[in-house]
């Protein structure tokens, strides 16, 4: 069994922060955002725009962003660039200055970049106390542009009910924040206010919008700070800080043992001894297979009479259910032995052919063994015995022809009576049928007539 790379650290614990899937995304987006803001290497034009009565600092238009993405990430279709821009916004790295909904438009709408303090890669999981402080603080500011949206007002009302007992504390914190904010330069405040709002748009999104902070529970174990206490956006420390409820038990640390490495060595030696094909052969094989089946692929070659999903007509399925196979289907039986075995009608025709030659016991044996492997555990022993009696025991009614070596192995296996008792024999018979009976079937009149649609199928 192969283990991971032979480094000294315990199995299953690489640097958890670096390898978590979320951090990988954040890293990629941060690269993009950093390049986008770099005016030395063709970044987007970030400007201060003069509006009616005031200035709008540090903004860039949607069009500029979309253009930049198309040029720098080799995107041909603007729709794709808009979609990527919207995702970067939804993740919290860029935001429209006049909208709570984090999406990207390919027009003159203004966007601003999020401050690194608020970046998702800092693993924020802000508590409702922080959110309450934020909403409360907003109500203390008299500016029209900072008025709460309906959903925010509703959220605030809910939080006031939930935190009724400690509302005084929250109010005080909010006041403290307002004081801090007032000390800042006017332009700087505009920018910071918008960034703070955008932060909350990510963590408390507008109802109906995707909450990009939702996690795939399977990946939660590798989060940063799994056991530590959550930090507050406003530096608030409380007595009863809750532990993050999302984190499941941490990875069990299992040290690599000598036995593990020995197994790995055995595995590696087996791989080195393996006979492998050259890429050129493999490529030819993959191409040949695909080309052979492309006419059968309904998503490439339109199905006849029609694709039911497109036409709403189930004619195609009705035809397939009937016992009359199309020429195309009959042709497919000739592609490989597995093809005829897979198709119920093909299998029946092959069986008929073998019966006409009084050699059907091979196929019947093969089918019986397939059936054996599908049995529930409790029925296996009985079936093994039945198959042995029918096909292999001295005087068996449908005796199959096995070489003495296979026969020896099989009779030994029968004593244990497990599901794989006849594996060796089945493989032997499969190869025999493939090279002999199957090849003759394809050359036979029975098959050729079907292929050329001269005759209908033999009815069983």
């Amino acid at each position: 069994m192969a283990q991971g790379s032979g480094d000294q650290r315990a199995v299953g614990v690489a640097d958890p922060e670096e390898s978590s899937p979320n951090m990988i995304i954040y890293g990629k987006i941060e690269d993009i955002i950093t390049k986008m803001q770099d005016d030395k290497t063709g970044g987007v034009p970030i400007r201060t725009v003069k509006s009616f009565l005031s200035k709008i600092p540090s903004v860039v238009t949607g069009t500029d962003i979309v253009q930049w993405l198309m040029k720098n990430l080799s995107i041909e279709d603007p729709v794709e660039a808009i979609h990527l821009g919207s995702l970067i916004a939804a993740q919290g790295y860029i935001f429209p200055i006049s909208d709570h909904v984090l999406t990207m438009k390919d027009d003159g709408t203004f966007y601003r970049f999020q401050a690194p303090y608020f970046w998702p890669s800092n693993c924020w999981e802000p508590e409702n106390t922080d959110y309450a402080i934020y909403l409360c603080k907003r109500t203390m500011q008299n500016k029209a542009r900072l008025e709460l949206a309906d959903y925010e007002a509703e959220n605030l009302a809910r939080l006031q009910r939930a935190f009724a007992r400690k509302w005084e504390f929250i109010f005080m914190q909010a006041e403290a924040q307002v004081k801090i904010d007032r000390k800042k330069d006017k332009t700087e405040r505009k920018i910071l206010d918008s960034q703070e709002r955008a932060f909350w748009d990510v963590h408390r999104p507008v109802p109906g919008c995707v909450n990009t902070t939702e996690m795939d529970i399977r990946k939660c174990r590798r989060l940063k700070n799994p056991q530590k206490v959550k930090k507050s956006v406003y530096g608030v420390t409380e007595e009863s800080q809750a532990q993050s409820p999302v984190h499941v038990l941490s990875q069990p640390i299992r040290k690599t043992t000598k036995e593990d490495i020995r197994k790995q060595i055995t595995f590696l030696n087996a791989q080195i001894d393996r006979h492998c094909l050259k890429m050129s052969k493999v490529a030819e094989s993959l191409i040949a297979y695909t080309e052979q089946y492309m006419e059968y692929d309904p998503l490439i070659t339109p199905a006849e009479p029609s694709n039911p999903w497109i036409s709403d007509d189930v004619a195609l399925w009705d035809i397939e259910m009937s016992k009359e196979p199309s020429q195309q289907r009959v042709k497919r039986w000739g592609f490989s032995f597995d093809e005829i075995l897979k198709d119920q009608v093909g299998r029946d025709q092959f069986l008929r052919f073998l019966e006409s030659e009084f050699s059907s016991e091979n196929l019947r044996f093969w089918l019986a063994v397939q059936d054996l492997k599908k049995q529930p555990l409790q029925d296996v022993a009985k079936r093994v015995e039945e198959i042995w009696q029918e096909f292999l025991a001295p005087g068996a009614p449908s005796a199959i022809n096995l070489d003495s070596h296979s026969y020896e192995i099989t009779s030994q296996n029968v004593k244990d009576g497990g599901r794989y008792t006849f594996e060796d024999a089945q493989e032997h018979i499969y190869k025999l049928m493939k090279s002999d009976s199957y090849a003759r079937f394809l050359r036979s009149n029975a098959y050729q007539d079907l292929l050329l649609a001269k005759k209908k199928v033999w009815l069983l």
Binding site: I217, A283, L286, Y293, P298, W309, L377, E423
Partner: protein, 353 residues
């Protein structure tokens, strides 16, 4: 242990360096076979025409993220499971819901349709895989006949019936895969080797084969012999979790989708990665992949809400499909290849053709 005495002189360090040198030798051997790239040979293959694939059906009814889906052999019914514990069986052609059951746990991450079409299997945070026979008796409660089959020590991430209703193969967050007898619930074989959660598996399509492939959070894809429980081949080229693995229709290769935002093709005969499907503009992870019937197309659902359609041979992207409003979490091509179905965190499933 008896072996300890025999190899007393071998230290952990000496064994590790032996393993390292063998790895180097293996890489050398494999490199000798790399005389050409797949996409180079595929240059002579005719390019595919324009692709117009649309949503033909939208299945609405789940109340939360759709996590998994599977097709019935009848080419139209599907089973889907979601975060809120609901498992629904639909006739996706008519979009009618035919059965629904609520699991006792949330995050039902795995579900599968039995080959007979008469039962479904599902599981998730309950660490189990349970089988529910499908009944059309209106008076019968589906949950009443539930049978608990598999027991793992962590979440169930994937399950699949073998070619019979009587055996189920499971993958789990506990790092193992296992084969179970449905009737008795007995463990038939377990598969150990992954160094972290196993997230996905797929059975080889052969009529005679007894192998399957699994992918996990250890970035490895491993091919297993179902009889012996041994890993017969392993591939480690992805840079993050492998969320999905699916065999190429001939069974000679398989594709994988990963959080590193790439899909890759591995050939079993060459014992190596033979193609990467990626783009600079695709930065979110691929959550699920499946091939079209001929193996020419690879459909991949991503965490950026889109589905990318790849030309398997040439390595280029043929089409990008928009429609879902949140992550695409699951994707399967129908049994006859006439369509594929995608499930998403936006609570819906879509059938595309």
């Amino acid at each position: 242990m008896a072996t300890e005495g025999l190899h007393e002189n071998e230290t952990l360090a000496s064994l590790k360096s032996e393993a390292e040198s063998l790895k180097g030798k293996l890489e050398e051997e494999r490199a000798k076979l790399r005389d050409v790239e797949l996409h180079q040979v595929a240059e002579r293959v005719e390019a595919l025409g324009q692709f117009v694939m649309k949503t033909r059906r939208t299945l609405k009814g789940h109340g939360n993220k759709v996590l998994c889906m599977d097709w019935c052999k009848d080419k139209r019914r599907i089973v889907s499971s979601s975060q809120d514990g609901k498992v629904i069986v639909w006739d996706s052609f008519t979009t009618n819901k035919e059965h629904a059951v609520t699991m006792p746990c949330t995050w039902v991450m795995a579900c599968a349709y039995a080959p007979s079409g008469c039962a479904i299997a599902c599981g998730g945070l309950d660490n189990k895989c349970s089988v529910y026979p499908l009944t059309f008796d209106k008076n019968e409660n589906m949950a009443a006949k539930k049978k608990s089959v598999a027991m793992h020590t962590n979440y169930l991430s994937a399950c699949s019936f073998t070619n019979s209703d009587m055996q189920i193969l499971t993958a789990s967050g506990d790092g193992t895969c296992a084969l179970w007898d449905v009737e008795s619930g007995q463990l038939l074989q377990s598969f150990h080797g992954h160094g972290a959660d196993v997230l996905c598996l797929d059975l080889a399509p052969s009529e005679t084969g007894n192998t399957f492939v699994s992918g996990g959070c250890d970035k490895k894809a491993m091919v297993w012999d179902m009889r012996s429980g041994q890993c017969v081949q392993a591939f480690e080229t992805h840079e993050s979790d492998i969320n999905s693995v699916r065999y190429y229709p001939s069974g000679d290769a398989f594709a994988s989708g990963s959080d590193d935002a790439t899909c890759r093709l591995y050939d079993l005969r060459a014992d190596r990665e033979v193609a990467i499907y990626s783009k600079e503009s695709i930065i979110f992870g691929a959550s699920s992949v499946d091939f079209s019937l001929s193996g020419r197309l690879l459909f991949a659902g991503y965490n950026d809400y889109t589905i990318n359609v790849w030309d398997v041979l040439k390595g280029s992207r043929v089409s990008i499909l928009f429609g879902h409003e949140n992550r695409v979490s699951t994707l399967r091509v129908s049994p006859d290849g006439t369509a594929f179905c995608s499930g998403s965190w936006d609570h819906t499933l879509r059938v595309w053709a």
